[in-house]
């Protein structure tokens, strides 16, 4: 990663969140839909959020990817249920927005 430039990983995460969320919403054949949903709902937001934390321990950093993904999705989906606005499509959109926002924040950190 070069100082002052946004890293490729940040760009890739943000773009993947947008593309895969569209693919998940449109619908894919059986195994692909499951993989895409897991990526959009858990792994990508988890990775994007974990990268904001600057965790020194690599093992802890890797563990935080699913942890943050599951935890954030739990908060988002539970809040949607309480507000009676839940749909899995809304959760997909919300999680991809969270991923993109986390990537934007990371990009801002990388630029400074």
């Amino acid at each position: 990663m070069n100082r002052g430039r946004v890293s490729r990983l940040t760009l890739a995460l943000g773009l993947a969140a947008v593309v895969l969320s569209v693919a998940a919403l449109v619908g894919l054949p059986a195994p692909l839909q499951a993989l895409t949903a897991a990526a959009v709902l858990v792994l990508l937001p988890g990775q994007a959020l974990a990268r904001l934390l600057h965790v020194a321990d690599r093992a802890l950093g890797a563990l935080l990817v699913p942890v943050l993904g599951f935890a954030t999705l739990t908060v988002v989906s539970t809040a949607m249920f309480y507000l009676a606005v839940w749909s899995w499509q809304a959760c997909v959109v919300a999680m991809s927005v969270i991923t993109v926002l986390a990537c934007l924040e990371r990009a801002r950190q990388e630029e400074t």
Partner: protein
């Protein structure tokens, strides 16, 4: 204390023949276990459960795997076998111990996973949370997560429930692996703790459930609290107030970078919120554990317990208030009540079932005895880690607070298990500092591991007679869900029934043993169940399955003859009609009073 030390790995880059042999032994052990388990036919006709019907190649696989692990752990003078080999052996152990039932049948074991699928389905269907339905809707976090994942992925929910134990144990081990990096620098000890954690895990709480999710997050919280949020206390000066104040101020953060500590704190608070929203018991365990660590000076943000307590109190006061109105948390508190519900009431049933219960208790006692011996050993060597002792002992505080449906002791032993395993490893692997264990110590360890593995399979799958379902039983449940009119009462004989995964809100689900607390005799229980079904405006359906009958008989609630008499009596009553039958189940429709059958 906090620093994560990567042990030197002189084998890096070179493949040792010993490593290859150990990995191959693991593969052979797995193949033996899968083949042996796949030859078992359901239903399981033994009160001892799966242990009585698994053929000897399964046990040969168990022994081979433990020998391979111990050989890999012993390694050479430089350390244990390479990381991929150790991970592979642990993965095989997880598949063998926690996936055995998957190779026997493709129906998830136990009733509760089916029920949890039904709650997620009900949430997704209503798109709303009604806390008046039952307790689950007061702690809906895990079910909201599950509903979203199932609907978005399109995966068959029953397959998710089938594989959940393997996935959950994998997540627990991942969290425990990271936690161990902050508690010991000895790689052999780290691997051994993970192994013992698996071998001692008879509690069977790793099915698709909020508590399994909660334990995973609990271990991550502890990893964060001991790791980046940890503190180094100075030498304890005694209990004089002046000395205590100096001691408290003398603490220093284990993580020197404030930004890293802040990140860890944010994640910890997020997890406390998620745990509080997902499970009744786990947030109390989180609160107790971080309070104990904070009070002993091992946590840097000293207000963390207060914040966790506020989050927990707010959840109980608002989203969970509907449930707590009629169920005060300390209603059945007390050591005597807890002992009665958790121990006395559980030691009953057929001789085979009693043996299984005794094996479970003995396994727990052995591990705790090893942990106590390990703690004494460490104390003598002046290397006792008080954090491990606290985390092993504090779950006991939960025991007298509630009977938790007779499951509190199981939950207590599970919360303590990672740290009991850690402390037990001190005596199982007494040599430290990278010293290679002797042949004698290695042999004793291998023997101990094999013994624990046999006991865990016995304890864990000891209810297989009634918690492993047949296709006929599943067909019967589907038929009942189709035949029962909306709003009708669906009554099963006992709880091991694979029901409620669909139409969770469509019927009033009850069991005969829940309706007849005073006893299951025909004279008292028969009319009670009959009247309950017929007084329901939509009538009822009584489902009698092989597994529910076996559950009542094996646990000593009723005799086989008594159960047959009950069914004969039911058949002879007015307005009772047999509407479904197959070799493993019968369903009787009871028309409501005033309506012709």
């Amino acid at each position: 204390m906090i620093s994560v030390v990567e042990p030197a790995s002189p084998t890096k880059g070179r493949i040792k023949s010993r490593d290859i042999l150990c990995a191959l032994a693991g593969a052979v052990a797995l193949a033996l276990a899968i083949w042996a388990a796949s030859t078992v036919t359901v239903p399981i006709d033994s009160d001892l459960g799966l242990v009585a019907v698994l053929p000897y190649p399964f046990w040969a696989g168990v022994v081979l795997l433990n020998l391979a692990f111990v050989a890999a752990l012993r390694g050479n003078a430089a350390g244990p076998a390479s990381r991929p080999v150790m991970i592979w052996l642990i993965a095989v152990l997880v598949l063998m111990l926690f996936g055995t039932a998957i190779f026997v049948t493709d129906i998830p074991r136990g009733e509760v996973a089916f029920r949890h699928l039904g709650i997620a389905d009900a949430l997704a269907s209503t798109q709303d949370i009604n806390p008046d339905i039952d307790a689950y809707f007061n702690w809906p976090g895990f079910f909201a997560l599950l509903a979203t994942l199932l609907r978005a992925s399109g995966i068959d929910p029953v397959s998710v429930a089938l594989w959940a134990p393997v996935v959950d144990i994998g997540l627990w081990l991942a969290a425990l692996g990271v936690l161990m990096r902050h508690l010991t620098t000895d790689p052999r000890r780290r691997w051994l703790v993970l192994w013992i954690f698996c071998l001692g895990n008879w509690q069977d709480q790793d099915y698709l459930s909020p508590q399994a999710f909660g334990l995973f997050l609990y271990l991550v919280v502890i990893a964060l609290v001991i790791g980046p949020l940890g503190a180094k206390p100075p030498k304890f000066p005694g209990f004089r107030p002046a000395g205590l104040a100096v001691w408290w101020r003398g603490r220093s953060p284990a993580e020197s970078r404030a930004r890293h500590r802040l990140s860890a704190l944010v994640v910890t608070l997020l997890l406390v919120v998620v745990i509080s929203a997902s499970h009744q018991l786990t947030p109390f365990m989180v609160l107790i554990a971080i309070t104990a660590l904070t009070l002993t000076g091992h946590v840097w943000p000293s207000r963390l317990p207060l914040i966790a307590a506020v989050v927990l109190a707010l959840w109980l006061a608002y989203p969970a208030s509907a449930y707590l109105d009629g169920h005060p948390p300390l209603a059945d508190a007390g050591l005597q009540a807890a002992t009665q519900a958790n121990i006395v009431d559980r030691v009953s049933g057929s001789p085979g079932h009693l043996l299984v219960v005794q094996v479970r208790m003995l396994l727990t006692v052995i591990l705790w005895a090893l942990a106590i011996a390990g703690a004494l050993w460490d104390w003598r060597k002046k290397r006792l880690d008080i954090r491990v002792v606290l985390l092993a002992v504090t779950p006991l505080l939960l025991f007298p607070t509630q009977s938790y449906g007779g499951e509190m002791l199981i939950r207590v032993s599970l919360f303590a298990l990672p740290f009991i395993a850690m402390q037990a490893s001190s005596v199982l692997l007494p040599a430290r500092g990278g010293t290679r264990p002797s042949f004698l110590a290695t042999g004793a360890l291998a023997l101990c591991c094999c013994l624990l593995a046999v006991m865990t399979v016995t304890g864990r799958f000891g209810n297989a007679r009634f918690d492993v379902f047949t296709d006929n039983e599943l067909t019967a449940v589907h038929a009942v869900q189709r035949l029962a009119p909306p709003g009708s009462a669906v009554i099963s004989a006992a709880h091991p029934t694979p029901w409620r995964n669909e139409g969770y809100l469509d019927h009033r689900y009850r069991t005969i043993d829940d309706l007849c607390k005073a006893g299951l005799s025909v004279a008292t229980c028969g009319p009670l169940v009959y009247d309950y079904a017929r007084h329901n405006p939509a009538g009822g359906v009584i489902l009698l399955t092989r597994s529910s009958e076996a559950s009542l008989v094996v646990q000593g609630d009723i005799s086989k003859q008594g159960f047959d008499e009950f069914e004969q009596w039911l058949r002879s009553q007015d307005s009772v009609q047999l509407v479904f039958s197959n070799p493993d189940a019968r369903a009787y429709r009871l028309a409501p009073f005033g309506v012709a059958p």
